[in-house]
């Protein structure tokens, strides 16, 4: 059986924060602000724990005789250098910014470039995997929006620009709103399950 103390704390804090959001009673609002500040601090600590976890996992991998251990060693060295530079000089020092601007941003930009190729390939694969009307509409819409989002060597295809605007304003917005309504219902349901103690992601057996 799970520890009822953890559940009681989670449910109590959840109810106070929820009521503090809806009811503008000073005591509740102040309590909500304090609890959210504590939560922010805890999330920041969790980030540190996350970095330590990442380090430990890759340290173990590099110590064990595993394939791709070179990747782990590379990650550990990069992480240590970055932590030392940013920790010693501060995050806004030119050395720290150099690492950010000339290593991290180019790597992430390269991954974005790969993403473009992956998405084109995925579009082709989608047509092969699910050759139905929905897929054709999806691909056709993506192609029309792409065609009209960039310059087309000065060529103006009549009606295509209006079609893009119509797609953007009518079916795309309607579909997005429908999906978002479903998502918001899901979010409230997930939150209420936690407030009721039916879902306990905080563990504590």
């Amino acid at each position: 059986m799970r520890n009822p103390v953890f559940a009681a704390i989670a449910i109590g804090v959840g109810i106070v924060v929820l009521l503090g959001y809806f009811l503008q009673i000073d005591l509740l609002v102040n309590l909500r602000v304090v609890l959210l500040e504590w939560a922010t601090i805890l999330v920041a600590v969790a980030l540190l724990v996350g970095i330590i976890n990442l380090f430990i996992v890759h340290f173990r991998k590099s110590a064990a005789d595993q394939q791709n251990r070179l990747n782990s060693i590379f990650l550990l060295v990069s992480m240590t250098i970055t932590l030392l530079v940013a920790g010693w000089f501060g995050p806004t020092h030119p050395y720290s910014l150099w690492i950010f601007n000339y290593i991290q941003i180019p790597i992430e930009a390269s991954l974005m470039a790969i993403l473009t190729v992956v998405l084109i390939y995925a579009g082709v694969r989608l047509l092969r995997r699910k050759p139905n009307l929905l897929t054709i509409v999806f691909i056709a819409t993506a192609v029309i929006i792409l065609l009209m989002s960039g310059p087309l060597f000065g060529i103006d295809i009549p009606g295509l620009s209006e079609l893009r605007i119509w797609i953007g304003k009518v079916p795309a917005v309607a579909g997005a709103r429908g999906i978002l309504l479903g998502v918001s219902l899901g979010i409230v349901a997930a939150g209420l399950r936690i407030l009721m103690g039916a879902d306990r992601p905080y563990g504590g057996s």
Partner: protein
């Protein structure tokens, strides 16, 4: 007091009442009928196959921040992780999870530890891994993880943006089944194109009900469906009134 706030509180209370009412109603009825979501049928088969083949299940929890609305989909992912960790008890290769946010990583380790305790086996904290803390570093860490481990099926339930395509592409190359659901609109469009079994909108939040995570999951799914029909009705009434010039 703001009228909108009161309306919001009433909405939450109605939702709460509906979940409670539905759970009481369902207790008195035998056999719960849920509408078919093919992705979850296939997931059930994939779990069975992974256990038989001795391959791992990978649950990717995304990088949803715990202090935002993204946390809800992360919690759904954790429920599914807990359920799968318990249901694959006979497998000699327990499921692994990856996340791109510190607190989600800690919670995933806690969920795995709970499941191990429930099954009476030893828990390994490295089964709940944090593979990166920015969107692309998370994707890069996760895709290399998928390539290194013998993954039978990948479940991507969490907050993802367009970087999820890199993860689903890696999963596709290992011939494992990929099921994906997210709260992010861009992520959903990308998953529709790249995942074998994409979950759209509220389907992502229904995972617990379909994997028997508890009666409250089923009750909340019914409550969601009832409220959705009410919202559809209100939208239609609003549109008709607008057409008639009343609004």
């Amino acid at each position: 007091m703001n009228g909108l706030n009161i309306l919001g509180l009433i909405y939450v209370l109605i939702f709460f009442g509906l979940i409670l009412g539905t759970s009481i109603f369902l207790r008195t009825r035998e056999g719960r009928r849920l509408r078919d979501i093919p992705a979850f049928d296939r997931l059930g088969r994939a779990i069975g196959l992974a256990v038989e083949a001795g391959s791992r299940l990978h649950i990717s929890l995304g990088r949803g921040h715990m202090l935002s609305t993204q946390s809800a989909v992360g919690f759904v992912g954790l429920s599914i992780l807990g359920r799968i960790a318990r249901s694959t008890s006979i497998s000699d290769r327990p499921p692994v999870s990856t996340s791109g946010e510190g607190s989600l990583g800690i919670l995933s380790q806690d969920t795995q530890r709970d499941a191990a305790k429930y099954l009476g086996v030893e828990s390994d904290p490295t089964r709940g891994r944090i593979t990166g803390l920015t969107p692309y570093s998370y994707a890069a860490g996760t895709l290399s993880f998928i390539q290194e481990e013998d993954i039978g099926a990948n479940l991507l339930i969490g907050s993802f943006g367009n970087e999820v395509a890199l993860i689903t592409d890696a999963a596709e190359r290992t011939d494992g089944m990929t099921l994906g659901g997210t709260d992010n609109l861009t992520g959903q469009a990308v998953m529709f194109a790249t995942a074998q079994e994409p979950l759209i909108g509220e389907e992502t939040y229904a995972g617990g009900a379909y994997l028997d995570a508890g009666p409250m999951h089923v009750a909340s799914l019914y409550a969601q469906d009832i409220l959705r029909w009410i919202i559809i009705g209100l939208i239609l009434i609003g549109a008709i009134l607008k057409l008639l010039g009343v609004l």
